[in-house]
């Protein structure tokens, strides 16, 4: 089981954090993991992205050229990374912001109105990224909700313990949205 | 008092809001919808009060503002 992910969005949407949490969760479950950010001033103003691999096997090539999973938090990200997604791969879209058409029909598509869900159901619009994460977990086998919660405990709770519960809630909102809507 | 008209280049504006703050007449505010780059751009909320003093343009870091003025009494 290997999931090669690219998570992409505006700077400020928390895509690096999403990637880190996934990598962390993978590490805690003794999987092999790697996380690579886009770096340098290419980030300034533009889009930011990170590549995450979570795998049962040794990770040789940490560069993700052909992701099995793409998270597009904004429009430009969709345009940039959809073509690379492998056939049968999973595209997770923050449909609150991304209005682009998905031009491929050989991939699985998960549209999450993350902004609205985060605002309405979690009460914090800036947790849209965590909502998307939750939704994504519903559709990948590489990590479970619990794995990610464990990672959040280590990463978030060590600095801001009060944030743990609400993050967990956001994860569940995302996951439930998928389940409830049978997406 | 002179009457001014301000035109903000919506594509250039990054919504920094400096012009909004600097305008002595509080003529400007930020849009509710983002421009294609995701910025909430500045626009004339209260065009009638604009004096064409150009303070906004002097301070706009993206040189996104253009201003015309009609001298009062003209």
């Amino acid at each position: 089981m290997t999931e090669k992910m690219i998570i992409s969005g505006f700077g400020g949407q928390g895509v690096m954090f999403m990637g880190k949490i996934l990598a962390y969760a993978g590490m805690l479950t003794n999987k092999e993991v790697s996380w690579i950010p886009s770096y340098g001033p290419e980030m300034r103003g533009g889009t930011a992205n990170c590549s995450v691999i979570v795998s049962d096997e040794e990770i040789n090539c940490p560069v993700v050229n052909k992701p099995s999973l793409v998270v597009a938090m904004n429009g430009p990200s969709l345009e940039k990374f959809l073509p690379a997604l492998i056939p049968g791969g999973l595209l997770v879209v923050n449909s609150s912001i991304v209005k682009n058409d998905v031009t491929r029909d050989d991939v699985r598509v998960l549209k999450i109105p993350a902004q609205e869900l985060a605002a309405e159901k979690v009460g914090k619009a800036n947790l849209a990224n965590v909502v998307v994460l939750g939704a994504m977990l519903a559709k990948t086998d590489v990590l479970t909700l619990d794995d990610v919660v464990a990672a959040l405990k280590e990463v978030v709770a060590s600095k801001r313990p009060e944030m743990l519960a609400i993050n967990r809630q956001a994860l569940e909102v995302g996951m439930n949205y998928v389940k409830e809507n049978q997406l | 008092m002179a009457k001014g008209t301000v035109e903000v280049d919506k594509l250039r504006c990054k919504g920094c809001s400096i012009c909004v703050e600097v305008c002595p007449q509080k003529v400007l505010n930020l849009s509710k919808e983002p421009n294609p780059k995701g910025y909430y751009y500045a626009r004339q909320a209260d065009p009638d009060n604009c004096t064409g003093c150009a303070m906004c343009a002097l301070m706009c870091p993206d040189v996104a503002i253009r201003i015309w003025r009609q001298a009062s009494g003209n």
Binding site: A23, N60, C61, P62 | -
Partner: protein, 355 residues
């Protein structure tokens, strides 16, 4: 053992702190900046000192002074900054001072780009500064290895009184992987009785590389050469992967070694008998690793993020006994494993046909 998820750059910095590095002089540059930021944050807590130098020229000369005073010291930079250190590195080598230098290589020449690159190979291994001298050059390929080799670097530097360079690229510097910090056996290291620490209670020490008499200059050169020979004899490191029955060999270090490994795995699935030799020390180049395989190998593919630099050392190490081809990308681009395999098949059609 506790696992940490760390960026390569942070891992280097933390490993250095754990190796007893107490002084760091550096100047920011992408993609190595996290190293100096980490040091700025964490050295004070261990009574160490971080000084942001006014330039890389100053940084390397501060390292000179600190190393000469007998303290473990490090600097880090990326390609253009490393170019500015060349005079200082030559001085450090001539004065035989233990300094650890990290180069998180970015695409050059000139201001270039920030993407990963291996185009500073020549500079690091042949000596970008003037005169005959050598850096020990270590090329990790995982974040864990960044940790291990950083710790080794300080020992090697002290053991041989020689500057040691850790060379990686932006991918390794920026990526996060799990690492552990093992307890390490402490190596027996020579006393730094040559250091200038104030002459109280002993004859005074001087550190200088000036010799107006050519005879003395030559004696120095011969002494350094002898040291380099002994390093070359004792410190070659490499990893072999799937080489037992290999008829072909990919050669790659750092990031490209990971990609080449993936390519080897793909090739093996197709039944192609190819292995990987991964130099861990770029200088001394692991000639011995090649020697042991030389008889069986029909061709080599040097996989590089450059116009082809290590390929010269591969040809020299194998005494041109079999063709050496190049598979490369440049300017910050990285080949996919598929691309490497394709190139392999292109230059060694017989290997694929033999299956």
């Amino acid at each position: 053992m506790k696992k940490y998820l760390l960026k390569g750059n942070e891992a280097i910095a933390e490993a250095a702190v754990r190796a007893g590095c107490r002084l760091f002089f550096g100047y920011p540059i992408t993609p190595s900046t996290e190293i100096i930021e980490y040091m700025a944050k964490h050295l004070p807590a261990v009574n160490g000192t971080f000084v942001q130098a006014e330039s890389e020229v100053s940084a390397i000369n501060m390292c000179f002074g600190a190393a000469g005073a007998g303290v473990r010291v490090m600097t880090a930079s990326s390609s253009p900054g490393i170019s500015l250190m060349q005079e200082g590195l030559s001085y450090i080598a001539a004065n035989e001072l233990p300094v650890v230098v990290v180069n998180i290589v970015r695409a050059g020449p000139g201001l270039g780009g920030l993407g990963p690159s291996q185009a500073d190979y020549f500079q690091a291994t042949k000596g970008g500064g003037h005169g005959d001298y050598r850096l020990i050059v270590l090329a990790p390929s995982t974040v864990q290895e960044l940790v291990n080799l950083t710790q080794d670097a300080f020992d090697l530097a002290d053991l041989y009184r020689n500057p040691v360079m850790i060379m990686a690229d932006g991918i390794l510097g920026q990526m996060m992987e799990p690492v552990v910090f093992q307890e390490r056996e402490t190596r027996q290291l020579p006393a730094k009785d040559w250091a200038t620490t104030g002459a109280e209670g002993r004859p005074r020490n001087t550190i200088t590389s000036y010799s107006l008499q050519n005879e003395i200059g030559e004696a120095n050169c011969l002494r350094w050469e002898a040291k380099y020979r002994s390093i070359a004899a004792a410190e070659q490191r490499w990893e072999q992967y799937m080489t037992d029955d290999a008829a072909y060999l990919m050669v790659a270090y750092g990031t490209t070694a990971r990609i080449a490994k993936a390519a080897v795995q793909m090739a093996r699935k197709e039944g192609i008998k190819v292995g990987l030799l991964r130099p861990i020390t770029l200088w001394p180049f692991p000639v011995d690793g090649f020697k042991s395989l030389q008889g069986q190998i029909k061709g080599y593919l040097s996989v590089e993020l450059s116009a082809g630099q290590m390929i010269e050392d591969v040809r020299l190490a194998t005494n041109c006994s079999a063709p050496v081809h190049l598979c490369n990308r440049q300017g910050g681009m990285v080949p996919a494993p598929e691309e490497v395999l394709e190139r392999f098949k292109e230059v060694f059609p017989a290997a694929a046909a033999a299956v």
